[in-house]
Symmetry: C2
Subunit: 216 residues, 2 copies
Amino acid sequence: MESPDTRQRLVFTALRLFWEKGYGSTSIAEILQSASVNSGSLYHFFPSKQDLLLAVLDAYHEGIYPMLLEPAWAGIDDPIGKVFALLARYRKSLVDTDCFYACPIGSLALELHEPDPPVREGLAKNFRAWVGAIEGCLKDAAARLPRNLDRRSVAEFVLTTMEGGVMQARTFRDVAYFDNAVGQLKGYFDYLGRDAAASASRPTRKRGRSNKRRSR
Amino acid sequence: MESPDTRQRLVFTALRLFWEKGYGSTSIAEILQSASVNSGSLYHFFPSKQDLLLAVLDAYHEGIYPMLLEPAWAGIDDPIGKVFALLARYRKSLVDTDCFYACPIGSLALELHEPDPPVREGLAKNFRAWVGAIEGCLKDAAARLPRNLDRRSVAEFVLTTMEGGVMQARTFRDVAYFDNAVGQLKGYFDYLGRDAAASASRPTRKRGRSNKRRSR
DNA sequence: CTTCGCCTTGAACGATCAATCAAGTGACGT
DNA sequence: ACGTCACTTGATTGATCGTTCAAGGCGAAG
């Protein structure tokens, strides 16, 4: 495959290296060598390393649907099944890399302590897209979840579980920690499902307890 | 307070700086200046920067009970209350630092991509101690949780939730994301509590479904 | 052919990094 | 008084960092 587009090759190479080694530990020289590009070309397109990072975050964001969700959801119709199919994809990523790499955004989010607003926004944008996809599944699940359950909040919690599970699996180099996180989340969903079924068979009781989100 | 112990001053200083800026972004020179120590002294005690990191991880491990759990649990007897009191302490840390810093171990765990076994073991040891403390609470909760619920797995899930919630709160610079994670976890615990109460009033049914952990 | 502008080349720069080391200090045992 | 040794001093090292820049290639427009 020929790749005449230097800019794109740089972004993809940097994406891979940042994923594998983190942002701070990936040197410009390494990116240049991996992409077979000279420093002048890089700095022609990106004024600084941080601008390259921003381009990487954009590229990742662009790829969330076609590269992540689409393949993960191939042949899966059940909306809640889609949620766990996506988690299964991260599991595969962990297993394939001996529990080294999974979600590049999460790693970058905790590595970058700088307050640079554009970088943070790039990370946040990725998280929002991911959560939005899960939220869509939960909305599609309709009556299988409690009626007044805040779908967005639960979707954020799925991200919480995924990232926390990945962190532990990486630290212990054991995918069982990720499996446990997913298993507990599954338990939570089971409870939610039973709750929805129970209140459906007992229509419109008054007591309006429910998982409402706090104001933000 | 006088501090004649150079070694200890180095460890505490490094602990603080690693917490604030991460490991890779904290230079030896910065540690030396902050601790008012010369490089020769540092390298007298620690052969390399990584050895200093190991000492920091040890020190943090030593401090988990006296510096973290003890103050978080002061005046709290309810075991499940202790779990959420600990989470509340991380919340306070987030609020106090404008959502910059909370759990130093989690940040380091995702920053350090190196496979150095001793470092990973230092991180894992800290996680294990934390999970062990939560596990103790869950065991104390006794009948308020389903009888055959795996306490260790749920304790690991509490860590998952905390770390995932901190990651999102940091990225969005908004503690509401941490609050949501804790709120969802609370919802899960509510279900577990109701489940325990229900099966207690209906003693010893046969169907032994339950949150068993996978083999590891 | 000339000119212009995009893109590439790659040596070089100053800053900063972790780490070194020869020289020294001072408390302590003998 | 002397030797020993744990500890300190701080200049210095070589490597590596992100970044710069003068020079040149090259296709398209005039």
